[in-house]
Subunit: 598 residues, 2 copies
Amino acid sequence: MSQYQKSDKSQRDTMEDDLAPRAVLRPKQSHDSTPKKKNDKKAHAPTLRMIPLGGLREVGKNMTVFEYGNDLIIIDCGIAFPDDNMPGVDTIIPDFTYLRENKEKIHGLVITHGHEDHIGAIPWFLQEFDVPVYATPLTMKLIELKLDDFRPKMKSNKLQVVRAGESLTIGPFTFDFIHVNHSIADAVSIAIHTPVGIIFYTGDFKIDYTPTSGVPPADLGKIAALGNEGVLALISESTNVEEPGTSLSELEVGKTFEDIFHRVTGRVIVATFSSNVFRLQQVISTAERFGRKVLILGRSIQNVFEAANKLDYLTYQPNTIIQVNELDQYPPEKIVILATGSQGEPMSALTRLAFSEHKLTEIIPGDTVILSSSMIPGNEAAIYNVINELFMRGANVIYKTLSAVHASGHACQDELKLILTLTRPTYFIPAHGEYRMLYQHAELASLMGIPDDHIAILQNGDILEFSEDGMEFAGYTEAAGVLIDGSGMGDVDELVLSDRLRLANDGVISVMLVIDRLSNRLYGAPIIKASGVIYQSDMKKMISTCQDTVEDMAEQLFKKKKPLDKTMTPDSVSKEVQKVLFDRTRRRPLVMTSVTVI
Amino acid sequence: MSQYQKSDKSQRDTMEDDLAPRAVLRPKQSHDSTPKKKNDKKAHAPTLRMIPLGGLREVGKNMTVFEYGNDLIIIDCGIAFPDDNMPGVDTIIPDFTYLRENKEKIHGLVITHGHEDHIGAIPWFLQEFDVPVYATPLTMKLIELKLDDFRPKMKSNKLQVVRAGESLTIGPFTFDFIHVNHSIADAVSIAIHTPVGIIFYTGDFKIDYTPTSGVPPADLGKIAALGNEGVLALISESTNVEEPGTSLSELEVGKTFEDIFHRVTGRVIVATFSSNVFRLQQVISTAERFGRKVLILGRSIQNVFEAANKLDYLTYQPNTIIQVNELDQYPPEKIVILATGSQGEPMSALTRLAFSEHKLTEIIPGDTVILSSSMIPGNEAAIYNVINELFMRGANVIYKTLSAVHASGHACQDELKLILTLTRPTYFIPAHGEYRMLYQHAELASLMGIPDDHIAILQNGDILEFSEDGMEFAGYTEAAGVLIDGSGMGDVDELVLSDRLRLANDGVISVMLVIDRLSNRLYGAPIIKASGVIYQSDMKKMISTCQDTVEDMAEQLFKKKKPLDKTMTPDSVSKEVQKVLFDRTRRRPLVMTSVTVI
């Protein structure tokens, strides 16, 4: 039982009270309980603050603030996807409250790579904070596409491209952009040289000794040099911490493609994550070796393809790429289609093909479909739905880990250990992942000799301070995540969501009644409408039950000489209708009653 | 490309038309196209009809009808679980239409084993069809529990226990109950001796050469004997057809428990599927070897434990099992808790422990929690949520395939091949699974030499006929699944669900107005109420927008001297409000308008 578990337990009571478990920390003072120069500190040099605004104890919306005195920079600005309990919510972005409170301090936003969970919230960020954004070339192209897609369309004249290998000084910080491997081109780790020491922020990464041609392995030399110089804190991603060993190399994926192309005689359709330029290259290269043409199908993959082309990141013969109107000119065995839809997205090319809804082409029996991707949790049902349809239309589908048609972009245990070994950090903060992942990453660091009180399993909003006295937990700020629904930002909350879930489960009944004050009777019959409750045909009976209930209620009150306009309030009517409905049907639709007195 | 793929393609146009793909079949006539004695048939002996009412191209609600002339029996009667697009739906049961139409023919219901997807719909079935139910001892205990739990509580005096190894003659059929291994005790395959030949129906099964002590391996001798006698058709489950090799033995799970118990010093909490009596036995036996006491926590696992005890299916020392009030008498290293909640079910023992909501006990740092179960697709998020909370409370959690803490109950490829080899069926029908699984099972049978036109990938509702002329597709019946919502049966349909999904996404606004015919004006302000749209605070503005819209509309009509009572219909008001809301907020709540004219 390591110490950070114990401190966890000690915080449990608080956790139960506010339902928002605070930092599970093992800063030294919690063990030896001496307040340690706390009062002197104000006189000291400022501390370095690290504040994760997203990405901790969750997957998604990565965003981390680094602040030293009056200077603040941010790394990444991503979105998270809503879960089943958030109907109608399109996207979740980080809470910018802390940034608003420290607006004048912000020097800029530094981006590690171009995935949605790292760049997705940039349009909302730039609407409020007009500061420079620093990113590598492909990442920046994807940011530009994103701003262009946003409604209202956006543009920033403060986008600054930085290349891996370069450094950048912003305020008191110097940033090294360090090449790493990942499932998207131009991913970097960031080393931040701060007045209190070096912070090494891995971002999403893996170490691939044999990536696609032209791409070097992660810059381990630079990382080792930083370790030799002395790293104060390592902030390392935890996505694949549950996987032992090392991640698969792109080289192996290439070999699998080679094997499949050897076996297959019909068309080959490959669906993959659009932004995985390396995978696009692998498919195109394999196609060329087998004398096949390549059609790029689907908007987002075409966008990435064009962006990568502009940067000269793709290598192919000029006549390899064909357009959809050229499909008929080649026999099936000469065709490869690179398509969107590896996650079963409803409007993607592959889903349309599967359901015979694509305008331009369709599945031909004998097609081989390769899902060169992982299944993002929550998407399984949609993906299997597409796979079933593809099989029904006569395609053969290669998916899952049946063969090595996909390599994860995230470091497995041995790669994580390598980074720990090269950087030899004084402090360690596992990042990017659910609690179980952060915990296991902490365990791994502990096994490798990092003292438990030098490891912090943080939570979004925690304020961690680094000074010459060490690492200290210094309170927290708001970081619950802001729900985006349609064009509204943050105007949906738990209460609205719980109303929606109730509506979803049982539907709604509206009751309208007019009370004639003079006669102390209802004026006409109450009007009842329903939606989402039961069959329209069965609903008639339920509606007349509701009408009877309201009329009986009025009749009883009339007989008792109670004034209807005072007693038949919307609340009392709704409650009575609800009660009768539940007794008779065991259903609890929302009842909305409106009363007019004439 | 095998033939059943081709026939699939040939049916595509029809599939698109009715959106309900019909039988993907390769009966011989579709190839040589001679109608083959079709007209003589009426003079012949009756054919054997097989009609799957559930379980094909889906996971769940297994139910298959076998009918010969005026005699009909049913195998299994299970439920399926609703997906994300079915808010408010509790359960899905098979469509009994065909059974209603042939009510007088029904001789009884034969059950293969006691899992929900095989017995869950029995209460609804027995409400309509008062026929005998045949099942093995534990299966029958679970059926009795189910009838007892049902509201209204039910009882049948026609429950007949049959043991594995026994046979039973019902009408023209003789049923052999054949012991197989599965993740529940008393699972059987069924051989049906019919006038046209032997049907071998595997049910859910695996072949475990080393199951828990006292339990024999599947009765391969009997299965081989049937094969030697000649099997007309094999109907075999397809759950694990994507897994090569063979399934893990319970022996290996026992070894893993042994390893974990050796390592662990605190309490051990094991969550597993309640009905997996073998797993309960393994945990109890391991606990005894390590001198630990066992607490059974959670209602459903207690029920199964008691049922298994009554049948003498569990072996343990009398003082091994303790009650919750005895927990304090033993140190942590002497305790094992067997709990419900392996799927993250909200009210289960493990979930309550994880969230510190259990009345009787709580997680102690140092506890080891073992999730001895697979993750049923769709439950992952809930399960990981529980795992995260357990870690936060200081427990160590062993889950997934980190170690062999769970063995699947379903046959992998080599076991499926073994059954095909032993039975050597003339015809093969893959069952229990999504299309991709049925397809791959068909491929496997094809590889093993079964001609493509002797393999049928059916769909729920298909009517397949066996006669001396072979296997033929003979139309279909209704089998779409009936949605159960609360106490209502089948009163929720696609339309209701689409209303509910819309309500979930955007909420609802009710508008009530009273029109004064004489003045041709509104009587008072329209009453607007909303639920699930946006924040209550922001809602005020939206409500006044709606009021303004309705009042403007009335004002315009008044000025144009149009009679309000004719023109301000509920529809026209709803449309106008919807339009204005969408223009201003990009939201499309449902608008329900009621109009009273005075």
